[in-house]
Amino acid sequence: MTSKPADPIKEAEKRALSNKDLFKTFARWYSVVEVSNSYERLQALSFCFALSGSLRKLYKGDDEGYREALKRHIQFYNSEGTFGSMIHGVTLSMEEEKAKGNEITEEVVTGFKTGLMGPIAGIGDTLIWGTLKPIILALACSLALNGVFVGGLIPFLFPLAIVLIGFGMLKSGYLLGKESVMKLMQTGLINNIITSASILGLFMMGALSSTYIKISTPIQFSVMDSDPIVLQDILDQILAGILPLCAVFSIYFYFKYKGQNYNKLIIMLIVISLVTGFFGILSSS
């Protein structure tokens, strides 16, 4: 396990950017990703700022090339910050080629960036934000609800994971270069990984839905002077968790067919909650 990655790292020593340069690039990126996020160009400025130092080194003495590079990378960019770091790495490797004078047109560089930022955003949002984040927060919540104070600190595992994964991505992007990354994206492997991560994600969403959506009905009624019949008991016998399940799928289908107007829905949900809570139709359990 330790011997194989050693080679590309060794090879890296012949490359223009050192491990330290790459780390600095990542550190800049990591610090600012979302700070300057604007409706107009989203993460463009952060991308440019993150690369600025390394670009300076690559285009040492070539102010014009540097200027072009800076302008090239202040254009629209948006992807998931962690996995997206791989794009930074590849971009730097392409700029390195370009700086050396090899034939890489601006179109290729920009095309690569804009071509990959979408798919990688999808992957990252699934893995990092859609799977890892809720898992960590859920664990943290369950500890906190039991009064364990560590629960309040567990969320910091999330940025920690991002740093570790993100820097790894940037580095391997730089070391592998464009061809290898494109090839990697095209083999089924990436699809297999996404499928597996989605399995984990969906499994967790199921588990979290079941754990944390807490609604039940307090309705009771009597038939023929019998003991009061508790509707929730009957529902539980039919299908445990039926109400939370209905809740999540009602919202799901609402979003799917009526569009994702989040704020409208949150207000609707609060109104529904107030009404059903007030009249004793639903309660939190």
């Binding site: 955003a121 609800l145 309040g152 297999n192 984990l200 969906l202 639903l282």
Partner: protein, 249 residues
């Protein structure tokens, strides 16, 4: 409320929304973290943690795809938690207080992202002049200073005067409404999960959602157990598909 606490709150909200450090705000801006800090401040650690976690759960599944924040967990938490601890509000009412601010916070974020357009146009000029420092300032210094005003001031004010207003209102709140908020607290986490389903829920993988759901409902496993089993199953599927590919080629 105590002036110092209000300053702390304003500062915590600024910190939690500053976004310095990708994903760091998920921790520094989490109601959970706010609950821990404010619980310590008020000497009510357990209460703080529980209220924090309860509010956190509402926003547990939320993703800011494309940078769009559907709800602001930080504002929800930083307003509701101190007021609740100060006035001994029940967790249900704290939720009721939190949710509207979760909605309002979105507007603050929109102001931020609109104003950021200005800095990028500035940064382009600095790029032209090879002014790295200038780019740096546009990327982080100016947006952060501006953010400080957008975030610190409102939270400072609201927490300073909010507690009394809230006590007044809450005293008059009928039980029915309280029940309603408690239902809201129970139902709102569904929002985030539904959104994630939209993103990753390929039809052919949906059975895994149901297995996870009913593993909790019928076998009573907890979140961590689900994570462990889910990871194992996902790993098996992954290794299988890789193996299969090998055999085919």
């Amino acid at each position: 409320m105590n002036l110092l606490v209000s300053i702390l709150c304003g500062f915590l909200y600024f910190l939690g929304t500053s976004r310095i450090g990708y994903g760091l705000s998920t921790a520094t801006g989490s109601p959970l973290f706010y609950g821990l800090i404010l619980g310590l401040v008020y000497g009510k650690l357990t209460e703080g943690l529980i209220i924090g976690a309860t509010i956190q759960l509402i926003y547990i599944g939320i993703i800011n795809t494309g940078g769009n924040m559907p709800a602001d967990q930080s504002l929800a938490g930083i307003i509701a938690i101190p007021i609740a601890l100060q006035t001994d509000l029940s967790t249900e009412l704290a939720v009721g207080l939190a949710v509207p601010f979760g909605v309002l916070g979105v507007f603050l974020d929109q102001i931020r992202r609109i104003s950021n357009s200005y800095w990028i146009s500035q940064a382009e000029k600095h790029a032209e002049n090879l002014n790295q420092r200038g780019i740096f300032n546009c990327a982080i210094t100016y947006p952060t200073i501006l953010l400080f005003f957008i975030t610190f001031i409102p939270v400072f004010i609201i927490t300073l005067v909010g507690a009394d207003t809230v006590t007044f209102i809450m005293d008059a709140m009928p039980q029915g409404i309280i029940d309603g908020f408690s239902v809201a607290g129970g139902i709102l986490p569904a929002l985030g999960f539904a959104i994630i389903l939209l993103i990753i829920g390929k039809r052919e993988l949906m059975p895994y959602f149901f297995i996870g759901f009913f593993a909790v409902a019928y076998l009573g496993i907890n979140t961590m157990a689900a994570a462990v089993f889910g990871t194992c199953v996902a790993a098996i599927v992954l290794f299988n598909s890789i193996n299969q590919k090998k055999e085919l080629s």
